[in-house]
């Protein structure tokens, strides 16, 4: 390794520290001008590993302007890293200017940063897009030597990663010879991530440095003396035991998977908080002020516990967390490991974690996660790639910066890993889309945003285009939100629609508008740790009043966010199929599985068990693919279509993380027995053909996906505070746009982009397709005369959960029948 400059070496000596091996290795690679990806657990001093080479270069060859760009997914992280850098820079007596630039940076400072940039600029992917879209981008980045990418594993799994990759490809072109240092937590496919890092600096390669984790974490499952429920996600049975656990530890972080679970847990803990322990709540809907308060109280060591969602998965280092508690299933081993890493950021001591399953299937899932963690197995998501909506946004940004030749830009964007295989044809169609909408019916050429000039370059038609681009930048599309304000209730009974209502109460936070669309005045739900009653929506605010009901009527305001990882699913299937390994399961879970073995069948790992049985007035078909709720939901939609054609008269279905239950009027058992229904045909992979197509066209999930793509691609504008339309109008119009476009030009690139996104995200079609291939010829049918033990969790959900957003015609039909009855005098 080349020696550290004396200023740095002396600083380490004064501190009594020595660079760690991975820091020196990264230093050596970077000083030889090469790029590298460092994979290391949290607390390993990754930031210093990233910046040591920059400090050294600036000491040896001071230069004005930007030398190093640091890009991370979180504003808070940039601010924290800036603070952590300024201390050593000050102590070493170096004249290096470090500044952050985020959406919160004042406009005058941002403008100044363009003509008088700092040496180290700490920023986000969106700011890179903005900076590179200015005509003076080449000057801003003329001295750029290094890019440091932090928490890369978190960025590459979303569209932000695609945007970032394109931004880096542009930076690599503006400043040839730059090197990239990327920092990541442990991932399933380190080589893929390394390729991602190397793509923009090709033909140069990138090194991969993997640091072994420190002490193995100690992970346990809560050994509850209570009964673990069949279904549900609240884990209320465990609240008293959780409270005791919090009491016995210094500081605990309690992770849950959804905001509603966070609300329930927080409220439940305070109900039994007889010692008045400082327990706080942190999730994305709460007011920013309130979240900052919690974070600073946490940093100051004033809290005993924080109940939080994925908002605290990443972020600044708090040092003294003693215990991480995962309430509800972990969903994936990589996610669990990340969360565990939030405890005890000292490498040599083991982190401690406790998992609290909220139902019996989750017990299996928690066991599977513990095995996976012990094996060091990772199941992180792969980087996303090829988003045409993000590419369209980038193409417009590049046009705002300078006229471009299609050939040149095409070569450049293929240096972004997600677009390495993009065809020229698709690229050209994206350019056409940006220029004039790209419709087969060429209606807008007169109004084009980009024009092809005689010298063969594309230019923006007028300066307004650049303004519009800058207002619509980024890939994070928020659901339309409304502010939630606490007001005094109406004088009359709850739900009254007349009478005065108090105004100007306290702001509690924000919530997705669609949640309120399904409420009627008087409905109660949990928010900010208390039960409130919905009063009304006025302009952009939802008025709620304090409700004096102990339990909210509306149980949740969002479904599970993360699907069960394929990897954990397989482990769970394995576990169920091997009774020899049940020894360490809690008694009640073991009894449950044993009973299943006795009265029905335990499917083998590669089998799909399909049970059919009558229950109450319906006939049920329950299967157990373990592929996550989204894939099951899609499967449910498609299977009901097929069952309908087979005249099994299906009525409805319930999809959970583990199973799918369909019920109907036809006797499915008999139909199979008599050869009138073949399960192999029912589950044949060709259901992903025409049936899927037909369903997609009417699916609200498609419309939601389209809205995001259309905003990112610049087909419709985002909502800006205090400006124009409300979110609802905007949602509605994007639905109408989708319908018209899907019907009249179904191969338009935005429809293509929507289909690709939906297949990957909301519908999980790839996973469903893999599943159908896996179970093909491995379906075992078990006709039963009554419900099986394994089916119980799905069956208890029926009637408790809301009807999924399709087939809403039935609500009108019922209201119409009611009218008929009224008319008949009934």
């Amino acid at each position: 390794m080349p020696d550290l400059p004396p200023q740095i070496a002396e600083w380490f000596d004064r501190k009594g520290w020595a660079p760690r091996p991975h820091q020196t290795e990264m230093y050596g690679i970077a000083r030889s001008g090469k790029s590298a990806l460092l994979i290391a657990p949290t607390g390993a001093g990754k930031t210093l590993a990233g910046f040591l080479p920059s400090l050294a270069e600036m000491i040896e060859a001071p230069q004005p302007g930007i030398h190093t760009l640091y890009i991370s997914p979180l504003k808070a992280l940039s601010v924290d890293v800036a603070r952590n850098l300024m201390t050593p820079i000050g102590e070493m007596g170096l004249g290096i200017r470090v500044e952050t630039r985020t959406g919160d940076t004042p406009v005058h400072k941002r403008q100044r940063q363009r003509y008088d940039p700092p040496n180290f600029l700490l920023t986000t992917p969106e700011q890179i897009a903005l900076l590179t879209s200015h005509p003076d981008a080449d000057r801003t980045f003329s001295g750029l030597r290094r890019i440091v990418l932090d928490e890369l594993h978190a960025l590459v799994t979303s569209k932000r990663g695609e945007l970032l990759s394109l931004g880096i490809a542009r930076l690599a072109k503006l400043s040839p010879g730059i090197s990239i240092t990327a920092l990541s937590a442990t991932v399933a496919q380190p080589e893929t991530l390394r390729d991602w890092v190397a793509a923009p600096v090709a033909p140069q390669a990138a090194e991969l440095v993997m640091m072994k984790g420190g002490a193995a974490p100690e992970v346990d499952i809560l050994k509850s003396t209570e009964r673990v429920p069949w279904a549900g996600h609240s884990a209320t049975y465990a609240f008293p035991e959780l409270y005791e656990t919090i009491k016995q530890n210094g500081t605990s972080l309690l992770f849950v998977n959804t905001r509603s679970q966070a609300e329930m847990l927080f409220q439940g803990l305070w109900e039994i908080n007889s010692d008045n322990l400082p327990i706080a709540l942190h999730h994305g809907s709460l007011d920013v002020e309130q979240r900052r308060k919690v974070e600073s109280a946490m940093a100051a060591g004033k809290l005993r516990a924080v109940v939080c969602t994925s908002t605290l998965d990443l972020g600044i280092d708090w040092g003294d967390v003693d215990l991480v508690i995962q309430v509800g299933a972990p969903k994936g081993s990589s996610r669990m490991l990340q969360r565990i890493g939030r405890a005890n950021h000292r490498l040599d001591e083991p982190s401690r974690a406790l998992m609290v399953p909220s139902n019996r299937f989750e017990v299996l899932e928690c066991e599977a996660a513990i095995e996976a963690i012990a094996d060091g197995a990772q199941d992180s998501e792969e980087p996303v790639s090829g988003g045409l909506d993000v590419l369209a946004q980038h193409v417009l940004g590049m046009a705002c910066s300078a006229p471009f030749r299609a050939d040149d830009l095409y070569d450049e964007i293929r240096h972004a890993w997600p677009y390495r295989n993009l065809s020229r044809d698709l690229f050209d169609r994206v350019v056409q889309f940006v220029a004039n909408g790209g419709y087969a019916l060429r209606a807008y050429e007169r109004f084009a945003r980009l024009r092809l000039t005689p010298d063969g370059t594309w230019r923006v038609a007028n300066p307004r285009v650049a303004q519009q681009y800058r207002l619509n930048i980024g890939t994070i599309i928020e659901e339309p939100m409304v502010k939630v304000r606490l007001v005094r209730a109406r004088g009359q009974k709850q739900g009254a629609t007349t009478g005065p209502i108090g105004r100007g109460g306290r702001l509690l936070g924000e919530m997705e508008e669609y949640f309120f669309n399904q409420l009627t005045p008087g409905d109660t739900f949990l928010f900010g740790g208390e039960v409130v009653a919905f009063e009304m929506i006025r302009e952009n605010e939802a008025y709620v009043s304090r409700a004096f009901a102990p339990n909210p009527k509306i149980p949740s305001f969002m479904g599970g966010k993360f699907p069960l990882s394929t990897y954990l699913a397989e482990r769970v299937r394995t576990m169920i199929s091997s009774p020899d390994n049940w020894a360490h399961l809690p008694d009640q879970v073991r009894d449950w599985l044993s009973l299943q073995r006795d009265v029905s069948v335990l499917p083998r790992r590669d089998e799909l068990l399909v049970e059919t049985f009558p229950h109450e007035a319906s006939n049920f078909l329950v299967c157990y693919p373990f592929e996550g709720r989204l894939a099951h939901q899609t499967m449910g939609m498609l299977l009901t279509k097929r069952l309908e054609r087979a005249r099994a008269r299906p009525v409805g279905f319930v999809a959970s993380e583990y199973s799918l239950a369909i019920w109907g009027l036809g006797d499915i058992s008999a139909m199979i027995r008599l050869g009138r229904l073949s399960l192999d045909e029912l589950f044949a992979p060709d259901m992903l053909g025409d049936d899927l197509e037909e369903w997609l066209n009417e699916s609200s999930l498609m419309r939601r996906t389209f809205r995001n793509c259309a905003m990112i691609a610049g087909l419709i504008e985002r909502r800006h505070p205090g400006k124009e339309k409300t979110g609802r109008q905007l949602t509605m119009s994007s639905d109408l746009i989708f319908d018209v476009l899907n019907q009249h030009e179904p191969d338009h690139i935005l429809i293509q982009a929507t289909r690709a996104d939906a297949a990957r995200g909301l519908l999980d079609i790839r996973r469903l397709s893999d599943c159908l291939d896996r179970i093909s010829q491995h379906i075992i049918h078990k006709p039963l005369d009554r419900i099986s033990p394994l089916a119980v969790p799905a069956m208890v959900e029926i009637g408790k959960v809301q009807i999924f957003g399709e087939a809403r015609e039935s609500a009108m039909a019922e209201a119409a029948e009611e009218l008929m009855r009224e008319a008949a005098g009934a």
Partner: protein, 237 residues
Amino acid sequence: MTAQGVAKVDDRREAVTLTFADQLFVPLPSGALYWPDEQTLLVADLHLEKMSSFVARGLFLPPYDSYATLRLVGRDVEATGAKRLISLGDSFHRDTGTGTLPPDARALLDRLTKDVEWVWIAGNHDPAPHDLGGRCCGGLSIRDITLTHEPAAVHDRVIAGHLHPAARVYINGRSTRRPCFAADDRLLLMPAYGVSTGSINILSDPFTGLLNRAALRVMMLGRDAVYPVSVRRLVRG
């Protein structure tokens, strides 16, 4: 977490009718209203050329909405055998839209205006007369029923558009929101017909004082049928 779906709804029901001002009408799921005794089809708020109007703001929305709307009109004309079509205003999203119809939409409109007697009633979005076939007027009266775009504060025997009415029903834990016909004993409000039009809940401010709740009848547009729904089940939003 779980989600639940309903697989199928039986949509086979006999045609719904609506009696207003002593006349029998047939509301169609497209949002058109057929008047058998006059062999007349009524539509409101086509808002043709709405998508293309966004180009003024630099947005390129799919330029297919006019054709899509006119094709629906054509199907309704064919299905009902109407001899006359009356468009109750805001037929175009703005006056200049009459000059920007794409060729396929223009051809379809030319054919339709030749096939049936076509009447354009002026709306607030498209007050100016034009020469796209048919006849332009400010409003008209048939069998003592006034057909107009915007209902006046005081009215009787009026069929109007303009307001884009919609209803939301809430029943057994489920809610559905759809455009609707809304009528009392004096006024019949038509839903907006155009494929690019939005809608407003009839329980919200713009409708205040217009309809007499005691005599209110609401018919929601389903996928394949019109549903006369119980007024007790209406909610806001």
